[in-house]
Symmetry: D2
Subunit: 171 residues, 4 copies
């Protein structure tokens, strides 16, 4: 199985939202590295912050107040290099595909400027009242399009936004 | 993104190892269903039990005593139907591909006889002393081959082992 | 700070409900032992099973269907000996005090017949509609009294039920 | 069981180290509030940050490089008010007692200026080589004494440092 081709953090377009994760003791396993399922938990927290900070749509308002389910139909992650307690990861979120009732995000984690984990999350929007899928709310769609546009501009002539597009991502 | 085609539990070959998972309160999120990263944690526990019960190789001996790392290079999961607190899932583990230094497993979770989650875990065996990849230990390879052979016989003429093979699994 | 005085598993009254916990990889930390907060998670699952198996009141029905909150006002735990991946713990639940709107449970975990962890959970019953405290439901109170009575009989002349009573427990 | 008497955040001595916790979706349970064991996990992360930020002793260096175990002999927590997804908690750490081989910390979490959770953690320092208890390392003892001294000065004449002392804390 081919690993993904690691990006460098500095190649990310300047408009991409990013945050930092400290790798803590409680996230690590007896091998001393981040426990694999915990990566998904940490990244879910990153995505939650991204909704509020990058889209201006606080996650707890969407899920709690507006009862819009943001559950996943698919998640996947590829691991190129382990991370240990004390590491600080730079993490970025890319909105790859905006569908009618679904959304594909990738989360890219970097250690010392080199991508060490890449995860994909496919969200299907649902009503938390009857658990049926619904169209993305209009304000969410608009915020996503604006975010995607901001991410489309390469940081430098050497990098192109295409590298972050669906075609280079794991299916 | 196409969802996987759900199997029924009764279609599994009789040789496939299976266990049961009670969905507990602490595994569920504010939407009342299993928190996505928690599925990966629960399935990791299932795989751990499978090493001991189906392969005869207790996980903690491989990882702890023998210092053989069983970390993941890739994980993915597809979700067809949510599970709630109080549900009891039937879960089965299939060894799809046995490579030189890697192993591809799928975990299939069933609710009321219908597959609701399917996850793929690609393990790369490493030395926990220097964290370099190593060949699968001989006894592990043998146990895996024997397990795969036991899973190869269909439960009934209507089902074929091919349905569990690599070609029908998400990449 | 004085540690608790460890019981032996064989001293437990025969009526005490008990279960087994396998210590898995994902429950352990980089020191190779169960991560402290994870003990509380594991014990919460034990208590959940106890509601259904020992009281005949499935937890998800109380919390989910009947909307009776079983949240904690207080938890505490004392650790006498660490547990590692691969250990199998015997775990017992004692109902110490049954109040009007609250319930005090102790969870006792044993490794090789010797108590290694003792935890106390004080539950306050609430309505999940308005989050106000409510009296213990009648059927729950009755089931608790019956359970406490079953636990009151010592397993042998050498042990007495008093040792499990409130006075010997951490405040 | 008497609840603790809630402090207000503004009463904390100015020298007390504090941080903020966003309550995320993944930390909450089907009742929509922080899952009790998860509080201990979140607070363990807070304590880890406190070691580095307030004591100048990064946790992963103590535990990883220096192989000094910082495991708990006792933890407890009292809950006065639940917290929900989207809440932001102010959290402070107090070093209550500095023993020869042990350390008692309290973690105080505030929501809208009122203490909603108070937890106590008793750490016993051990050698991670032979898992025997050891005296607190000298630099750690010195840093703790300095921290305790900084916390001893009340923020205002109305509050006194005694309120944070051992006598007012749950045993």
């Amino acid at each position: 199985m081919a690993r993904f081709e690691s990006l460098t953090f500095s190649e990310l377009p300047s408009g991409v939202w990013r945050t930092r994760l400290r790798v803590r003791f409680g996230s690590c396993d007896p091998a001393g590295i981040v426990y694999t399922p915990e990566y998904l938990n940490l990244f879910n927290g990153v995505i939650e912050d991204w909704y509020g900070d990058a889209l201006g749509l606080p996650y707890h308002e969407l899920v709690g107040t507006r009862r819009t389910g943001l559950g996943y139909a698919h998640v996947s992650a590829d691991f190129a290099k382990p991370s240990s307690m004390g590491d600080v990861l730079d993490v970025a979120v890319i909105a790859c595909e905006i569908g009618r009732t679904s959304l594909k995000l990738t989360v890219h984690a970097f250690k010392d400027d080199t991508e060490c984990v890449r995860a994909t999350f496919v969200t299907v929007t649902t009503s938390l009242v009857d658990h049926k899928s619904i169209a993305l709310p209009d304000d969410m769609r608009l915020a996503l399009k604006n975010y995607k546009a901001r991410c489309g501009e390469p940081a430098s002539p050497a990098s192109t936004s295409l590298r972050f597009g669906p075609s280079s991502l794991p299916a």
